[in-house]
């Protein structure tokens, strides 16, 4: 039922897109057929063929690197006549199925390191192929699988680790692009200050351990502290390396990160997208300018407004009320999926549902965060809203497979 609401909203926004509307309408038709098909296949099929589907999506990811067409600097599309297929959109589904099957059916406790490593490999393989495209947006989505694995027992440290990485990463980027006048050393990158601070924290930590921690736990704590320190320094160093070299991230990605962090003020140049996007949303006001009445989106001020920046159309035309409605629908959908997940007896379905919820959550967070200027500009579609057949089909498959599995929850017991 929440899902249908998503579809209604889809119609409203798609009218703004003009000539793309026809194509997208056709995709909706295909998806309708697809959903009927998906619902009529036995749930067991998905479980049995999880590895097969995963393999097909992996193969497509390899194929795209060979015969793919490069658009906007990423080799992410396979051209088929008038249409382009984006394998990464389907790999999310393939990976979800495979991960669910692996964790659910492995007799081994998930806490075992070896199991975790294998799970990581399942996620890592497609992620690595996506890095090669490169498509940082989709790559980030694969990070979402950590959430699903966390639910299944992955250490919470990973989450803390992730959160810590984000904080440390932001500080590193900030410092990496600023210079300081060091005593005796002169002008140099600000990153060294961070090393000094980390070193100081480590020293304080050891002092702290010596004083407060009981002797029999000391050894373990010191090892942990050492590992964390090395990881932190390694992380900072790698962030610095990534931001300084042009090999890992393309220059325009680095610029976007800097713009988001306020290091560059450039509303005409590289910050153009974000500036216009924020302006469109901000000028929408409380109740919006009305359907087709938003000049910023109507006259194409916001680039990629039918794809990644579709939320700006909602923002400008329907204002705060429209945005909150859409957000409530989305988050409602995510929470609904979690609710569905938790009522499953089948571990496979539960993990799969968590994967779906995590992917949706990641998409939503990055996409909406991006258009509001809370995240850097990373190409990632807003599920069901953004123009693009692959994305729409990918999400349709994700959700309808879940609905089919959910429908069988009474009959299946595993």
């Amino acid at each position: 039922m929440i899902y249908s609401a998503g579809f209604n909203a889809e119609h409203a926004s798609i009218f703004n897109i003009g000539q793309e509307y026809g194509k997208q309408f056709m995709f909706i038709g295909i998806c309708a057929v697809l959903s009927v098909l998906v619902l009529n296949v036995e749930g067991n099929f998905y479980i049995q063929s999880a590895w097969g589907i995963y393999a097909v999506t992996l193969f497509m990811l390899i194929l795209v690197l060979v015969i793919g067409t490069e658009i906007n600097g990423a080799k992410a599309w396979i051209k088929m006549g008038n249409f382009s297929l984006q394998p990464s959109e389907f790999s999310k589904m393939g990976t979800s199925l495979a991960l669910a099957r692996f964790i659910a059916l492995s007799k081994v406790e998930f806490r075992r390191f070896e199991t975790r490593l294998k799970a990581l490999a399942i996620v890592g393989a497609p992620a690595a192929l996506i890095v090669l495209q490169p498509d940082p947006g989709t790559l980030l989505v694969f990070v979402a699988f950590i959430l699903a694995m966390y639910r299944e027992g992955l250490s919470g440290n990973i989450l803390i680790f992730g959160l810590g990485s984000v904080v440390l990463g932001v500080i590193s980027v900030l410092l990496a692009f600023s210079t300081f006048d060091y005593p005796f050393l002169g002008e140099n990158s600000g990153i060294y200050i961070l090393y000094v601070i980390i070193a100081l924290i480590v020293i304080l930590l050891f002092a702290f351990i010596r004083v407060f921690v009981l002797p029999r736990y000391r050894k373990r704590t010191i090892v942990q502290a050492l590992v964390w320190s090395v990881l932190a320094i390694g992380f900072v160093a790698s962030v610095d390396f990534v931001m300084q070299s042009d090999k890992v991230l393309k220059p325009h990605h680095k610029d976007r990160i800097q713009i988001m962090l306020g290091l560059i003020e450039d509303p005409q140049g590289k910050g153009y997208n974000m500036d216009k996007s924020k302006m469109a949303i901000g000028s929408g006001g409380f109740s919006g300018k009305g359907y087709l009445e938003g000049p910023l989106t109507k006259y194409n001020y916001v680039p990629e407004q039918s794809t990644d920046f579709i939320f700006t159309v909602i923002g400008e035309e329907w204002g705060f009320l429209g945005c909150v409605t859409v957000l409530l629908l989305f988050f409602g959908l995510i929470l609904r999926i979690i609710f569905i997940a938790e009522r499953q007896r089948s571990r496979f379905t539960r993990i799969y549902a968590y994967c779906v919820a995590s992917i949706l959550f990641m998409h939503l967070t990055i996409n909406v965060g991006m258009v509001m200027g809370l995240a850097p500009v990373i190409g990632i579609p807003l599920p069901f809203f953004s123009y693009g057949g692959s994305s729409l089909m990918g999400f349709t498959l994700l959700i309808f497979i879940l609905l089919r599995l959910d429908a069988e929850r009474m009959s299946v017991f595993r």
Partner: protein, 602 residues
């Protein structure tokens, strides 16, 4: 191990993100208004609607300055595609160098998606030919506009002209934008704020490339309001006639209506056709006029400073009468040992002295005014006397602001104590040093407009209204309030009779100097002036008004290097009066003599 509780942590994370998003949205959309302002600034474009400039009529309702439809050739540089420069240059009749220059200027102005003026004010006849092929050149288009037209081609300096605004105008008045035209002289400048009208504004949306889209709904538009039409004081027929009489001569004719101060004719010769200074050839024609040795752009009427000569004797008479230094009956011997004189007379009264233009008489009158013997020091006495005389003179509008609406007016020069102290040093000069100003020579300088105004003052018997160009602003308006108030000269009306009688005798008595100014059936009062120029021919001056008892017109004529006042300025003056009062000329020979005369050698 069951990790079921972990779902709460995940739910908490998800809800936190939702809350952060909603707070951020609320802040952006419901609290921060600056996004809205910026969006409006970026997406909307205010198009200024330019009003047509007001028209100018003459005193009889004939069009003096009109508007004509023209086209501006505009260009949007970013819309130019594979331009065939050579055939385009041929189409608009310019050289490739000119094309490059114009495009460079446009590029310098910036905004390649904006419409720039490539070539302004193309006449419809030329534009018809251009527009036929204009579609072959993408990025170029025509835009209707208006330009000045002078149906009769008269009174160039009275009308003034319009030209592109200067940087100074742009800086000082935010009304203007760089494509605007502004009045640059005459009525166009003096009544710029009335003529220019009110600009309108219309808001359009523009897309991200800056291309104008539809009209923005619900924004407050205002339409352009045309400039006020002006009803000038000029009589086009009289003006045309004056310009005809002054052909092949340097000098000017200024005719006033004494009772109102309205300027009936304003001829500065040689003139030019004001239609030369509009449209595409304006620049080239303007350069030609600037370089013309006869200085057609020089407004002799208000900027030419001339010694008044004998007409000054009337001013002297009036000031002396008012202050009791002479009576009409006062006789003074024509002592030609100090200053020359002419004609057979030896002991005139005031009337005779004016009529015969007796120099020794007025040298003595001025002496009485300057050397009042109020102070024991003769230098201080002279200085005091001179300044008191000067104050009386300035009340006539000499050496002071006449209060006219003609731009660029000079005040002339009436020397006083300060002036002579500067030249000779304090207490180093006496009346004997400066007496030539007594007869309108020496350091005295006045403009022809002030001369005409003197004729009007005498016609009015003691007062004047500052000469002005516009009698009605707008169809239901009036003239400026300052042109409804009389300015008194401080000389009582009774003192004028003797001067006016003398002026009539100048024209009508057989021995008078201005017999050529006679008009059958009209009592003309006038005074000749013959201003010496050393070895060169004299300037010919004549001021007059008529009819004597109900003056309708006062005229000053100044013809440079023509000879005596009676032989040239007087007949020209009378022809103007006759034309105005009778609308016909009784003596074609007199007219013929003037039309064939030429005084351009000097």
């Amino acid at each position: 191990m069951d990790f079921g509780n972990r779902k709460y942590i995940l739910i908490f994370m998800i809800v936190s993100v939702l809350v952060i998003f909603v707070i951020r949205l609320f802040y952006m959309q419901a609290r921060d208004e600056s996004w809205k302002d910026r969006a409006i600034r970026i997406t909307e474009k205010a198009v200024v609607l330019k009003p047509p400039r007001g028209l100018v009529y003459d005193r009889n309702g004939e069009l003096l300055i009109a508007n004509q439809a023209v086209y501006d050739l505009m260009v949007i540089p970013s819309d130019i595609e594979s331009l065939d420069t050579v055939s385009f240059c041929n189409l608009v009749s310019i050289t490739p160098e000119d094309f490059i220059q114009r495009m460079a200027a446009i590029r310098k102005a910036g905004g390649s998606w904006k419409a720039h003026e490539f070539m302004g004010q193309i006449k419809p006849s030329d534009y018809a030919r251009i527009s036929e092929h204009l579609h072959e050149f993408s990025g170029f288009f025509g835009q209707p506009s208006t330009m000045r037209r002078y149906p009769e081609g008269v009174a160039p300096l009275f009308c003034g002209m319009v030209g592109k605004v200067s940087q100074k105008d742009l800086d000082s008045d935010e009304y203007y934008d760089p494509r605007d035209y502004i009045g640059l002289g005459g009525i166009e400048l003096a009544y710029e704020s009335e003529l220019r009208g009110t600009k309108g504004i219309r808001y359009f949306f523009r897309d991200h490339k800056g291309v104008t889209m539809e009209v923005a709904e619900g924004r407050l538009d205002s339409s352009a309001i045309a400039g006020e039409d002006l009803y000038s004081t000029l009589d086009i027929d009289l003006q045309e006639y004056g310009e005809l009489l002054m052909q092949n001569k340097k000098g000017c004719i200024i005719a006033l209506e004494p009772a109102t101060g309205e300027i009936l004719a304003f001829v500065s010769a040689p003139g030019y056709d004001p239609n030369l200074l509009v449209g595409r050839e304006r620049g080239a024609n303007y350069q030609k006029l600037v370089q013309d040795s006869l200085k057609p752009l020089y407004n002799r009427g208000v900027q030419g400073l001339y010694r008044p000569g004998s007409i000054w004797k009337m001013v002297q008479s009036l000031v002396a009468l008012q202050n009791g230094f002479v009576q009409p009956s006062t006789r003074i011997a024509c002592n030609r040992s100090i200053i020359g004189c002419h004609g057979p007379h030896s002991y005139d009264d005031l009337t005779g002295a004016i009529q015969h233009s007796c120099n020794p008489y007025f040298r003595e009158v001025m002496k009485r005014m300057v050397e009042q013997r109020k102070l024991s020091n003769r230098f201080e006495d002279a200085a005091q006397g001179l300044d008191s005389w000067r104050n009386n003179i300035m009340a006539f509008g000499f050496g002071s602001d006449l209060g006219t609406d003609i731009p660029g007016t000079k005040t002339g020069q009436v020397p006083g104590k300060t002036y002579y102290d500067k030249i000779y040093g304090e207490s180093r000069w006496a009346y004997s040093t400066i007496y030539s100003i007594a007869i309108g020579e020496g350091e005295l300088l006045i403009t022809p407009l002030q001369m005409a105004n003197l004729a009007a003052i005498i016609a009015n018997r003691g007062w004047y209204i500052p000469p002005h160009m516009v009698r009605k602003i707008g169809n239901s308006g009036s003239k400026l309030p300052e042109y409804l108030e009389k300015r008194e000269t401080g000389v009582d009306a009774e003192h004028f009779q003797v001067v006016i009688d003398a002026m009539q005798r100048v024209v009508e008595v057989d021995g008078g100097t201005a017999r050529r100014a006679r008009i059958p059936g009209i009592e003309v009062c006038g005074k000749t002036g013959t201003v010496q120029n050393g070895d060169l021919p004299d300037h010919s001056v004549f001021i007059a008004f008529a009819p004597k008892n109900d003056p309708k017109i006062a005229v000053a004529v100044y013809v440079e290097y023509a000879g005596s006042g009676g032989s040239w300025a007087a007949p020209i003056n009378s022809l103007m009066i006759e034309k105005y009062l009778n609308d016909s000329i009784s003596d074609p020979k007199k007219e013929e003599r003037i039309l064939t005369a030429s005084f351009l050698e000097h």
